[in-house]
Symmetry: C2
Subunit: 245 residues, 2 copies
């Protein structure tokens, strides 16, 4: 499993992915799921991947190879909009499906993959897409300014309660870390470290990228403060006065 | 979808189910998912059902008809242990599978059903089981004293944080209602009213059974207090001091 989330804010983008990959419970490893395509001053495009690792790594490799391919082809360094970028990622997904889909089917393996495509290209605002395994995609809007892939449920309620398009970036970061904490506690196939990227609107380069380990002092303080805070709120609420005797 | 949860406490059992049933988004109705088999002073057995309504209603009907069947047969009013009760429910599940399984398969419909079987029979402690579609089952233990069926993820973190086997019954009730609130907010196919049953160990009758509507004053106060409390805890936690400029 995997957990990735992208939040589209007026101030920019907050992007995060876990790093655990597993094939069965007895084959567990760390693999990055955040892939950055950057031309400072021109564009920053970030991919967050979930699903079958062989598929998503193939897609990312195809996209990297396209950058050095024939000049007339569309790729992530020459597309003129994030919509086009999502189309290019979708097309790469379809190429991998054309190559591997039938063989996977014969082995009873789902063609499961989804990729968040987030970023900004000069001349546009920051945008955020979710590209599905079929290569089609949806875009986040100011009404619901986030997209999740992978193990999405445990970490969703806190985002729903807190995040809006106008939310301050550092509040959104705090919320994302709480969302990861809830997910990591509940699903053993999602795990630290967390790759995190903050992007400020119109900066056109990756502003703050870091990998948070379990020992990161800020993550530790959020984890502890949130857990203790929840218990305190729980205790402060009244019990029902129904008799059950 | 559905959400049902059963908690096994030293003090007894807390059992709850939502009441929404739907076949597609354009056919939504209320159906009880809590079914009580009671012989006051002798036994209380409660079934909470999730999955295909035609299957679970058939199982419950079979179990009711067995009560008036030939005397030598096992049924929920003559079994000597909750383990036997779970076996009887599992056998009823298998009967329905034998009758309907093949036809459902032909129509591409999963045989999806699960049933929590909770209660106490004189001479035993209260026990709690989860009977699967295949008729096999697991039992809750003091280490993880709860079982959920249906839409289980949204409402699980708060139970994990708060409930232990030694938890006071009314604290567990409060926790169950918060768990339902989180689930109902996130999944439109889980909805009020909530059927709730509290059972005190060794009382051998259903002690407090009620249906909570959206207007129930206690539920409203919990819902409001929890939402406001979460936001207050969130605000009180520090933001990261990373620059993202």
């Amino acid at each position: 499993m995997t957990y990735c989330v992208g939040i589209l804010l007026e101030q920019g983008l907050v992007l995060a992915s876990d790093t655990r990959t597993n094939a069965g419970v007895d084959q567990v490893a760390i693999a990055p799921k955040m892939h950055v395509f950057e031309q400072p001053g021109e564009r920053l495009i970030v991919l967050l991947t979930a699903g079958n690792l062989a598929i998503t790594q193939s897609v990312v490799n195809l996209l990297r190879e396209q950058l050095n391919g024939p000049e007339q082809g569309s790729h992530l360094h020459n597309v003129q909009s994030m919509f086009e970028a999502a189309s290019v990622v979708g097309a790469a997904m379809r190429s991998v499906h054309a190559r591997d889909g039938e063989a996977l089917k014969e082995h009873g393996i789902d063609f499961s993959a989804s990729i968040l495509v987030a970023g900004q290209i000069k001349g546009e605002k920051p945008r955020l897409f979710n590209v599905y395994a079929a290569g089609n995609f949806i875009e986040a809007t100011a009404d619901t300014p986030y997209l999740q892939i992978g193990e999405t449920k445990y970490g969703k309620p806190i985002i729903d309660r807190v995040v809006k398009y106008q939310t301050e970036m550092m509040d959104a970061v705090k919320c994302v870390l709480i969302s990861f904490d809830s997910t990591i506690r509940s699903n053993i196939s999602v795990a630290m470290p967390i790759d995190l990227m903050l992007y400020r609107t119109h900066s056109l380069h990756g502003n703050c990228r870091q990998r948070l380990t379990e020992q990161d002092p800020y993550y530790v303080s959020i984890r502890k403060g949130w857990g203790e805070g929840l218990k305190a709120v729980f205790s402060s609420l009244p019990n029902p006065d129904w008799s059950a005797s």
